[in-house]
Symmetry: C2
Subunit: 348 residues, 2 copies
DNA sequence: CTGAAAGCGCTTACAG
DNA sequence: CTGAAAGCGCTTACAG
């Protein structure tokens, strides 16, 4: 607290009466340091409130102590939860987070990425959809030797660690919940066909239906796009037909919120006349009425796992940053049972 | 594209046949460089795909090209919109964004802030509530000589630039909208009394009511906390009384969503029997039914303005980073008219 | 187990 | 208008 934190490694070395190299060893927790030396240095560090300068460390060494997060989709919640997860780990490890938004519609996505990693010397990069699946970006990172982890990518290229969750299993379990309540006529609103998550969630629904000998009825399955607006359209088609379903599984919460809106609009009582489930546990899930039964994606935890992988890599200074070995880790999701689901009406 | 971007200033100097100092001058757009020199250097830069190393610039110079964003409240949307705003400006200016979450309940908030600014040499810091009003954090930044801008702070300490919006005026205008529709019995749900925004919004409501000779009726004003849960309680008290209001102004969208939920719960039709307005234009505002009439806070724009102030300061390398002069700038809000408001029922 | 030297890639004074 | 020297605060080899 004394000197205002502007002390340098030399100041510490002088005060402790040792070489700067010894101070460096202690700071970096290198082996082969006598306990007495460690104590002397630590005392001087505390006395001067010394904190190593990141730029100098980065310039001289092979680590920058910087993790980058590249995101493309500016829609808030997801990116923010990822950041929180990364920050949780960075804080403990003395790392810092550099955030960069990539304009995914720009032609120079790869060039911008290259600029980032060469200028900033990032020790690792976390990627989320849709950037997870931009071959150009991945190539640039690989060529620059910057390890990266992909969170919930669309495809697993086998090029790097992947942290994800089992969308199909979650969707299956959620469908089972509806079936368990007694529903037989269960509508489904698919997500954007460009996203594999959309496919996997539908797959889970189909599996559960098949397991209970429930036929997939074409008039109960609609093609949405994950957007609220598309949900409105699908919900209208689903609900304004003679034989409407007693439950609807929307592939994400935005579309589920749209289903709820259409139900309100048409005087359909929730959940007594219609059960609705979504997927994601987005902020909306808790503030619509009735609150939405949905699947909570472990986004922050996926980000923490991604950061852990990156931090573990940079820990081994002897080997430099080894190429991040391909691996896959599926984290546990959680079914959030709220009030948007109930048994179907008795007369159905 | 050729050399993979690992070129250094020396490589450029050699290729261009000039000194590294000249390359530096061109890169930094310093004056007194002959046009021919500039061209030669730029050609070499392009040829080698040279990009200056940030660590080296930061270590040698007085600028780090890094803006920091310190946030305390991990609730997503706000922080994320702030980041987007800052990033918009950083991108153009060649700056980068370092994000740090401060645990506002920890005792060492100030110490952690100090660590950040001394280790990272940030050129400027953007602050949002509630950190905007932590005297310890502000003191640390001041002592370290790091310019900072406060976005929508609770109090204006006159210590730095402030970027905000006029909450009272917005609330007044929104109340006018309800009055213009014919409402006279307008309920109000206050926000957390610890936040000045709560006070200002109530003030705006009062002003509009007074301007139309409408009395403030105690049974129509409830004390909320900005949370959805608190909104539920207030809404129940407001709506389950004999003389219920024909419109409710909730001090934020979360509470407004709660009002809507309570209305649905009790079979009160929206907006025909009850109009509801919120504040913030949070993501929920568009996905409840009916969609919420609210005030859009120019969050990203406030962040952009904050970044502009910081970037302008660091631009003057001659003077170093002058202490950021106290100033205040109010940005334009926008009233978002959606379907949650309508004239009151005829018989009221 | 400890240290003296060199160097990371830039910018800052300072000459010319 | 241009350049040679010194130095930012560390870490990397390399000695001892």
């Amino acid at each position: 607290m004394k000197s205002g934190g502007k002390a340098t490694i030399t100041d510490v070395a002088v005060l402790a009466g040792v070489s700067i190299k010894s101070v460096s060893r202690v700071i970096n927790k290198e082996p082969n340091v006598r306990e007495k030396m460690r104590e002397r240095v630590m005392r001087a560090v505390a006395e001067l409130d010394y904190r190593p300068n990141f730029s100098a460390r980065s310039l001289a060494g092979m680590r920058s102590f910087l993790i980058g997060y590249l995101f493309g989709d500016p829609s808030g919640d997801y990116a923010h939860r990822v950041e929180i997860g990364i920050l949780n780990r960075c804080r403990e490890a003395g790392y810092h987070l550099m955030v960069e938004q990539i304009d995914i519609s720009a032609p120079d996505v790869a060039a911008r990425t290259a600029a980032l990693v060469t200028q900033l010397r990032l020790d690792g990069v976390v990627l989320t959809p849709p950037i997870t699946d931009f071959p150009d970006v991945l190539r640039v990172l690989r060529e620059a030797g910057v390890p990266y982890v992909r969170i919930a990518p669309d495809q697993d290229f086998g090029d790097s660690p992947v942290v994800a969750m089992d969308d199909a299993a979650a969707a299956e379990q959620l469908t089972e919940h509806l079936i368990g309540l007694g529903h037989r006529e269960i509508g489904f609103i698919k997500g954007d066909p460009g996203h594999s998550a959309a496919r996997l969630r539908y797959e889970g629904y189909c599996r559960a239906m098949a397991a209970h000998q429930l036929k997939l009825q074409p008039h109960l399955v609609e093609q949405g796009l994950f957007s609220y607006a598309s949900g409105l359209e699908c919900a209208r088609r689903l609900l304004l037909q003679p034989k409407r379903p007693t439950a609807i599984f929307a592939s994400n919460d935005d579309m589920a919120a749209a289903v709820i809106a259409v139900a309100h609009e048409n005087g359909i009582r929730l959940p007594s006349e219609l059960s609705v489930v979504g997927f994601d546990d987005a902020p909306i899930a808790g503030v619509v009425w009735p609150p939405l039964t949905t699947v909570r994606q472990p986004i922050a935890q996926m980000a923490e796992a991604a950061a852990d992988i990156l931090l573990a890599l940079t820990g081994h200074k002897d080997t430099g940053s080894p190429p991040a070995a391909a691996s896959r880790r599926d984290l546990e999701y959680e079914i959030k049972l709220r009030q948007s689901t109930a048994p179907p009406p008795a007369d159905s």
